[in-house]
């Protein structure tokens, strides 16, 4: 991938394999993500994307292979890796306000407890354009707004690596600038990995594409050709590229991607 301009790579995977209940989910996955890379991790649902994220986060232990995150064991990197989970996983009925969610990002980290906490939270909320909602309960937010709050929570960690799981799933509204501009800006400061099953939603600004369907295919120049996608999805796909955005239609007639 792109040149590691300073320090160790954000992520190094070598021959990673993992089976869940006897079914192989990841096979021989090797990947290096540099300190300022901006990578899209694509693949069909069930292709192992979330499992790969869990391996990088130290929540799942691979059966085979070597994992290094920020130069050490994944668990040792905790607090320095920002993680934005999928929005739909959340119970929006939980009694909590936006600023309390964001404050969570400071809890376990080396930054904890400083007088800078409130400023950091306010700054992160401003960056995702959610300052006006700081005191609202999360139950009053749209999916897209909650997504931004979760991004702010990851940002107060001041991470060196940011992992976003399906951030395109609920970008329903156009308030202010798009989050894609934000991701692009963040990738100047840290390594950014955007995970999605939706090829059409991935910004053309990403600097690399990796396709995961149990095995990983890395494409440094994000050349989204039909061959690349077919290799990843394991079925014929048509790539309709009208500049930007891309749309991909499956060949099964009865379903649309």
């Amino acid at each position: 991938m792109s040149a590691a301009d300073q320090g160790s790579p954000a992520v190094e995977l070598e021959g990673v394999g993992l089976a869940l209940r006897g079914i192989p989910v990841l096979e021989d996955v090797s990947l290096t993500i540099g300190p300022r890379d901006y990578l899209a991790l694509l693949g069909p649902n069930g292709g192992g994307k979330t499992t790969l994220l869990r391996v990088i986060l130290g929540l799942a232990r691979p059966d085979r292979g070597r994992v290094r995150v920020l130069g050490g064991e994944p668990r040792a990197a905790r607090g320095r890796v920002g993680y934005v989970p999928q929005v739909f996983r959340f119970d929006q009925d939980f009694p909590i306000r936006v600023e309390d969610v964001v404050r969570m990002g400071r809890l376990g980290s080396r930054l904890r407890g400083g007088a800078s906490d409130p400023e950091a939270c306010a700054g992160a909320l401003e960056r995702v354009e959610m300052s006006a909602h700081a005191e609202r309960p999360i139950g009053a937010l749209s999916g897209g707004q909650l997504q931004r709050v979760l991004i702010a929570r990851a940002l107060v960690q001041e991470p060196e690596l940011l992992l976003l799981d399906e951030p395109t799933a609920s970008l329903d509204e156009r308030i202010g600038r798009s989050v894609w501009e934000l991701f692009e800006e963040l990738s100047q400061e840290m390594a950014v990995v955007v995970v999605s099953h939706d090829i059409g939603a991935i910004s053309r600004q990403v600097r690399g594409v990796a396709c995961l369907n149990r095995r990983l295919h890395v494409h440094p120049e994000k050349e989204l050709t039909t061959e690349v996608l077919e290799a990843a999805y394991g079925c014929p796909v048509d790539l309709l590229a009208h500049g930007h955005p891309h749309r991909v239609l499956s060949d099964h007639g009865d379903e649309h991607r």
Binding site: I96, R97, D100, L107, G108
Partner: protein
């Protein structure tokens, strides 16, 4: 009623009820927010095993209840992380084995255990000063822990996986919270008993959730609501005694009052649902 407060047993009942409300309101808010009421019910029933052991071995039953509830918290809390779908079964095993042990222990104990029913359904009017001292100790522990660790408890209740990733020792924090839940149950055993304990932990907190959108707000409101239910139960029990000469225990009356308040609150909230609750 004011005159009745001259009677020491009523003073103790009132004091025990108010003190138990503090533990219930604080911990019940976490239980409701994280939706772990069935786990909590398991702890409450398992505590009965300790009551029985107390009778058999000759130490205070409430001490045994504390030990058993804490052990159950450990068993259920660990299982919660590992078992997934099998958790429900595991909770019902802990639940029923605890109860069964209690009954077996009591049967083995020499003589008759006269106030066994009082541990099942509470006996607020017969609370001793020793029990009140024990509730005070547990209250202090719970209040202190919540004051210090609330941000961690909140994070683990809201999003355990993220808390872990952010560097919190989520497993330890969750087990700590389960331990405090066990202690909160012990505070209400003399008030409403092991069988009704879960109601006093969840009903006021669920009602409070209708009107506030933060855990802190829920805690404050549900402490007040539990206290009001228990005081109401005592007043009602006295009034029924004076008016009709019947003797109805105040604990179950308190639960019924809490349920009525919950129903009324639900109705009222549905009417005002057009406006979201304040932060």
């Amino acid at each position: 009623m004011i005159d009745a407060l001259d009677q020491p047993f009523l003073q103790r009942a009132l004091l025990a009820g108010l003190l138990a409300s503090v533990a219930c309101g604080l911990i019940g808010s976490y239980v409701v927010a994280k939706r772990i009421s069935s786990l909590t019910g398991g702890l409450a029933h398992a505590a009965f095993g300790g009551v029985g052991l107390g009778y058999l071995a000759g130490f205070p039953p409430l001490l045994g209840a504390t030990g058993f509830a804490l052990l159950a918290a450990l068993l259920v809390g660990e299982a919660q992380r590992r078992l997934g779908e099998a958790l429900e079964t595991w909770v019902s095993i802990v639940w029923s084995v605890g109860m069964a042990l209690g009954i077996v222990f009591v049967a083995l104990a020499p003589g008759y255990a006269p106030d066994l029913m009082s541990y099942l359904f509470g006996s607020l009017l017969f609370v001793s000063w020793e029990t009140i001292a024990w509730i005070v100790a547990l209250d202090v522990l719970i209040l202190g822990s919540v004051a210090v660790f609330h941000p961690l408890f909140e994070a683990v209740c809201f999003d355990e996986e993220y808390a872990e990733v952010a560097g919190v020792r989520a497993e330890a924090v969750f087990l700590g919270l389960m331990g405090l839940t066990a202690l909160a149950i012990v505070t209400v055993i003399r008030v409403v008993g092991v069988i009704l304990a879960i109601a006093l932990l969840t009903l006021p907190a669920t009602t409070a959730r209708h009107w506030t959108s933060s855990l802190r707000g829920m805690m404050a409101l549900s402490v007040a609501l539990s206290a009001a239910s228990i005081v109401g139960g005592l007043v009602l029990a006295q009034a029924l005694g004076t008016a009709f000469g019947v003797s109805v225990p105040p604990g179950p009356l308190a639960i019924l009052l809490a349920a009525v308040v919950y129903a009324a609150s639900s109705g009222l909230q549905r009417r005002t649902a057009a406006t979201p609750p304040p932060g």
